[in-house]
Assembly symmetry: C2
DNA sequence: AATTGTGAAATTGTTCACAGCA
DNA sequence: TGCTGTGAACAATTTCACAATT
């Protein structure tokens, strides 16, 4: 039975992990899986797996474990993966183009419907069958195509403007690849994917941050 | 004076954020900055900024704040950004190619020296002046070029093999873009950049994970 | 007067340990 | 017996609040 505790970000992140593991197990035909097995595949404890899942309900059977297919479906529903989402990518540069070609998104139901750029030479061309539109029509197009998620892949200085346009068009989720911190209302969900920062964390470790 | 507390991952992540803010402030010519000003630019508290910095020393002046240039340099040294690192990208597909063209890396001193692929049509060609090498020579080339950090941008099923080769070549830091969980020794630092997972977090929010 | 640096308190997240069930 | 579900204990992280300093 679902609890009413506020679910932590780390729990939701692990839900994604469980989802991936369960998809694999389902393909292999495993009927059930224990919290210990799930934990061993990642670097988690069985108790953590059980606690994470218990926030959303009692999905397992004592003595047996969790039914793979059912649990995968339950998590899909919790994460909103039992449906499709309309995604727009803003910025048809290196990263934007790579994202459009990235097959995983389609597979998970994240459908890239629009690409935007401000370069007249790119506008009108198309990537993987998706035409590149003029970013100056951003808000209108986002609304017209019922875009749920905007991926920002423009240079840093342009990112805040794009975010504001997206918010004004009613978009409630943004994935930001620009290395700047966006100011948007708390009602809009924002994730940052800053690849330089990831390398910096590795660099910290290499210079001795470890021990 | 540096403390001997174990520095948390979140503190190191914020150090990267402070570094970016300070770089901007330095360009603007600001001589000093207070913890309050730093906190306001991101969504942090002044106390957190002060505590984070205090783990590494006393960099500020009471009543005045922190000297921008000095603090930026201190953090650069802590994060290992006062030097360059040799990086190899494995996988010349969409993501790998985008990373090679991504200017931020060069700017931060992460120099992409090698690209690897297993596609004979790509091997021998070059991206941005960096030749694409045959992944079957991975370990040898990594050693020969003193690569510090390996970026894995290959399809999921190939990632674990690449990681093992990298580890066997003495690489101690890996940035993994493949949507799988890599098994590597604890002595090797690993960061995962899983873009589908980020979208899934947004999806969770959109279906009501918020409140 | 302003702002740092930091113990202590509060909060959040993780692990333990065991009752309860198949 | 094996394994879940969970309150309680524990650990980590964040925030508070204030003495110390310029």
């Amino acid at each position: 039975m679902p609890r009413n505790r506020r679910i932590s970000e780390s729990t939701v992140r692990r839900l994604s992990i469980y989802y991936r593991l369960l998809s694999g197990l389902e393909k292999e035909g495993a009927p059930t899986v224990s919290s210990r097995e799930l934990a061993e595949k990642e670097k988690l404890t069985p108790a953590q797996v059980r606690k994470d899942l218990s926030f959303f309900g009692s999905f397992g059977t004592r003595g047996l474990g969790y039914p793979v297919r059912e649990l995968r479906e339950k998590i899909a529903r919790i994460l909103g993966l039992n449906r499709t989402w309309n995604v727009a990518v803003v910025g048809a540069g290196n990263i934007g183009s790579a994202l459009v070609s990235y097959k995983e998104f389609q597979k998970q139901g994240f459908l890239i419907k629009l690409i935007f750029d401000n370069d007249q030479r790119k506008i009108g061309s198309s990537h993987k069958g998706i035409p590149v539109s003029d970013v100056s029509h951003l808000a209108d197009e986002l609304k017209a195509h019922h875009i749920d998620i905007v991926v920002i892949a423009v240079p840093g200085p342009a990112a805040q403007g794009v975010a504001e346009e997206a918010v004004s068009a009613g978009v409630r989720a943004i994935l930001n690849f620009a290395p700047v911190s966006l100011k948007i209302p708390a009602s809009v969900s924002l994730r940052n994917e800053n690849m330089s920062m990831e390398l910096e964390q590795l660099s910290y470790f290499l210079v001795g941050g470890n021990g």
